[in-house]
Subunit: 237 residues, 6 copies
């Protein structure tokens, strides 16, 4: 049995539940998923580097009190979230963010990956995040933002949200030349089919939480672990 | 049930069996592995671009006569083997080479990946292959060759082979600054522990066939498929 | 006398003749050109990586039976055709593809090179091919496709073809900022003037077959040869 | 008849004659070479960016008085010499430096090119020059300097010079992994065989002046010209 | 007291005075600025690489006769002007061009820098110049040209000039995604406010002459100097 | 008067005082420096990404209670410290880390910059940090670690520390080909002369805190500010 702890670092439990609903529908038999949301006094959604720092420090403090009982971590925030590095330093268990997982899956399916995301500020942040993974622009088409905040994905009328996400997805294919789409927010986890309709049956649409569960399951089954000789050397924790 | 066809494009059935032995020990319950070797009149091992072309055309001709009954393809030759692109063009089923799979797994575990491989000529070929995946030198430490041909991995005395592979692995860590090692030949699939001993318990050692089975299983379970709008558009086949 | 074997790897003899007509009009005195087409049962045009593999293996098999009597090879398919690497491995004689030759000539004349080609799928394939040559985006403006297949260049009405190629060429200059145009298909070898009219007298238009004959002639006259110590080490052939 | 003006921008006529001797031995029948040295009061060799500026302005002033009667220019200084850009701006005739010509030839023969040059300062200057051509480190192995100044190539004892150049060439192959060597100074034009002996018969050794004559001849025969719509737009001259 | 020599390499004294007026309004107390224009017989503005060479050689010749009495040099031509390298070779005093200074300031304020400049030819030249600084496209959004020559910035009606520069600046933000604007010509030194109005109060507008004075002052106060062990080794001057 | 708040995010007041001593000796007349250390219960030194997150969240919480009274921020931790981004999001005042400031100063003085730092793990972290600034490997020679932790810089005997830092600095010049050295830890702020002795009078040695004060002073004097339209859009704070 592989136990994966899915961490939604923000305080919006609905978002955690949204991811849970998506993952529960397809969790492999030998995998057990646990869920953790950020504390109630933390940010309701992660919309800046500062939110990332804050939620990372909250989660790490939580683990100091409550050591995690799992085999791997999945950080369910679509960003270059600093919690990923922090967990890799603190533990040897494999750890992925949903951004990283979605990019690896997407690069297995096409040659030009785009991310459809929320606010405009995420365009430079996610581009920098993908580049920090060592992925070059030769296979990365870029980021298209819908202009919706993460919370508006839930609060705005469904048809309006769907239309904006679909429009951005089509732009990614037609204007950026993308041949694979990554859903760039945990709050979009349930939107694979909505986007698939927009881009047609020949463009794969990758949801990062599912991709992360798959990849981490495989890493744990291979008994693999985070390297401890380079950037992720152990920290006193 | 996810059916993955593992293709060893060369004619050396021992190498296929070697991979099979490694994979059988850890195949997930819901995965069925099939195996295919290259035809007897093809190259016994793949040591050049020309061998890649030849074996790719053999395998594709075979599929024209014998349509594959599987959900995904794993090309078990550690190279930028042209069969990967050919299968992606001919089918919508996900397809990975063990080089690609190992790199994605390795990048989930560390920040500087090196490949330990066979002959010296594979140094430029694998470097170019990793670059063709869109992976930049910021996370790729390079390739170290042992000087052994793929067939010598089997024919030479075990202690000699082990010593050479261990020495190259240590060089990858100490001289190239790698924090993760990928085993750069299908014929090394059984050598994870040998290399682990050499580099110590803090450097993950990734075997590409296992990584490929894990990744393809996940892609199939997500109902994902090869993109058909960009480079891998369907071909009449 | 420098003998260059011009290889059109597909089976369309008209395309070979088209190239021949273009080259015969300007072959230097001390150069003798030989021509080889792909076998009749091979692909009529090369529209995928798979076509490349197939035609490369056909041509190599032909040479096994009929050793080439020449000083250099020119692969007259505008792509990162695997035959180029295969010939470099099998022989020490210089070998170029028309893509490589056209890019080197173009980079001698301007600072931002674009390729005008046939189908949309060639956009990612040629971009990757140019990048595989080690050419960075700082001097490569990109690829514009006309939407015509290689065979349609011949079968469609001349005025329609010309109009589409001219429109794409203008787009390359105006939208991509190119200052040199490469004709991205052997089937366009006769279209230098058509494109020149479209882009005006200040934008050089490079035809790869002619550029390749010139470059190979020079390499042979310098007694230069394919390196045999790196990626192109000799193969038993 | 193709008339190429070979410009040695420094004042050392012996260096011009050295290049002339090398080129005369192998000039194609339909090519006529003219020679121009820098003025006597200019630098005796080009050892800095400042020397490049000075000699470029001298040569351009000369042409203002004495319009060149040729079809193409070859700048016989192995550097990113500013005269190349200046001539491309002033004329439409093709223009190459021997650095550029040697790199294009070398990339036709191998996959990892190194330059063997004179003083240590040329290491960063030539690396930057190759990068300015748009050539990435994936195919460029780097620069090895002998420590000799251009003038010492002539003034020091032949055996000492040969030994130093041979040692640097071997280092380029063995330590940088180069599979092609470019001779990085016009004053080394006669040293192809010396270097060939050092690196063995499988490593091509490219001399830039010969490569430049070949490439320019081909460009002129194709009626190609410097682009006038981008960086090299015409200047009032 | 830090003495900075501001060099306008062209002969247009009005342009020097324009820069002077801008700098005088904000020179720190402990800084003394000196000014030098190019000689009357030199180019009135710098519109090509050739103009750069010519003006660099004029200025250097001037210094040979009249050794500069200053602590640092600022080359007030917005380009990769060769005088910057020449001065770094000839002296140990710090030297910056206004292009370099503006880019460093801009990268301190945002993550995507664009340059608004004069003629279209400067688009490739400045892109190459920024790349030669080692700045990658991840933080460089590109160059937008107004179509005005440097001299037309003065000679054309103020409202027309302002409108064109404002339009280009908005394009840089809206189309290239820039979050900082650099004024790409010494002749625009007085236009910070004009551009600020166009792009709004949240986009910083960097003027390179001021940025250069600030940066050089700081380098001198730290007793820093141009490196003499690499590319800028001392030349006999 | 320009007021710069120098933030040492760790709790070691001795380190803050060390930086203060260095800066006080050379603060320009019109600059007022304020100092802030991390809270006593925070990390004593910053040796991981996790330490960065923790100290950034501490400092930001402090500012929520005690709004800063300054014109600019200098983060005196030599790393890609997340506090830099957080402050840029929270405020419009210019903000630099000492890593960024030192790199910009160094690139003004040479063409190949190296960093000499503390522990080995900082090698990949600082390389990634410099790359995240958009600085390419063409001008970045790399990182050399002494093996000393930040605290050991103080606690170990002075001669031992000096010897290790000097040895690493010489290695940076001799083995990495650096022509400028950046001191890669706030705890090395007083070591400019020690390093200068090791590398000789022709290699500039850049101390980031001084460089940061100079650069921020200049940005404030130009009335420049952090961009608010891209990655650093305002956050509710």
């Amino acid at each position: 049995m592989v136990r994966i702890l899915v961490i939604n670092p923000n305080s919006t439990v609905e978002m955690t539940n949204n991811v849970k609903k998506v993952l529960d529908s397809c969790t492999p038999l030998d995998v057990e998923l646990q869920y953790l949301s950020g504390p109630p006094n933390g940010p309701a959604s992660i919309e800046s580097v500062f939110d990332g720092i804050l939620t990372a420090s909250f989660v790490m403090r939580h683990f100091k009190q409550n050591p995690p009982q799992c085999d791997a971590f999945l950080v369910a925030c679509y960003s270059d979230h600093p919690l990923v590095s922090a967990l890799r330093e603190a533990y040897k268990k494999p750890c992925l963010g949903i951004m990283q997982a979605s990019i690896f899956a997407a690069l297995s399916l096409g040659r030009k990956v785009a991310i459809v995301t929320t606010t405009k500020r995420y365009e430079p942040l996610l581009s920098a995040g993908v580049r920090a993974m060592g992925i070059s622009d030769s296979v990365f088409a870029g980021v298209v933002s819908t202009g919706l905040t993460p919370l508006e994905l839930e609060s705005k009328p469904r048809t309006e949200v769907d239309a904006l996400v679909q429009k951005s997805s089509r732009r990614a294919v037609q204007e950026l030349g993308a041949d694979v789409i990554c859903l760039g927010c945990a709050g979009m986890a349930h939107m694979v089919e909505v986007v698939q309709q927009a881009v047609g049956p020949d463009v794969p649409v990758v949801e990062g939480a599912k991709a992360g569960v798959g990849m981490l399951t495989s890493l744990v089954q291979m008994s693999l672990f985070t390297s401890k000789v380079g950037a992720y050397q152990a920290i006193p924790f």
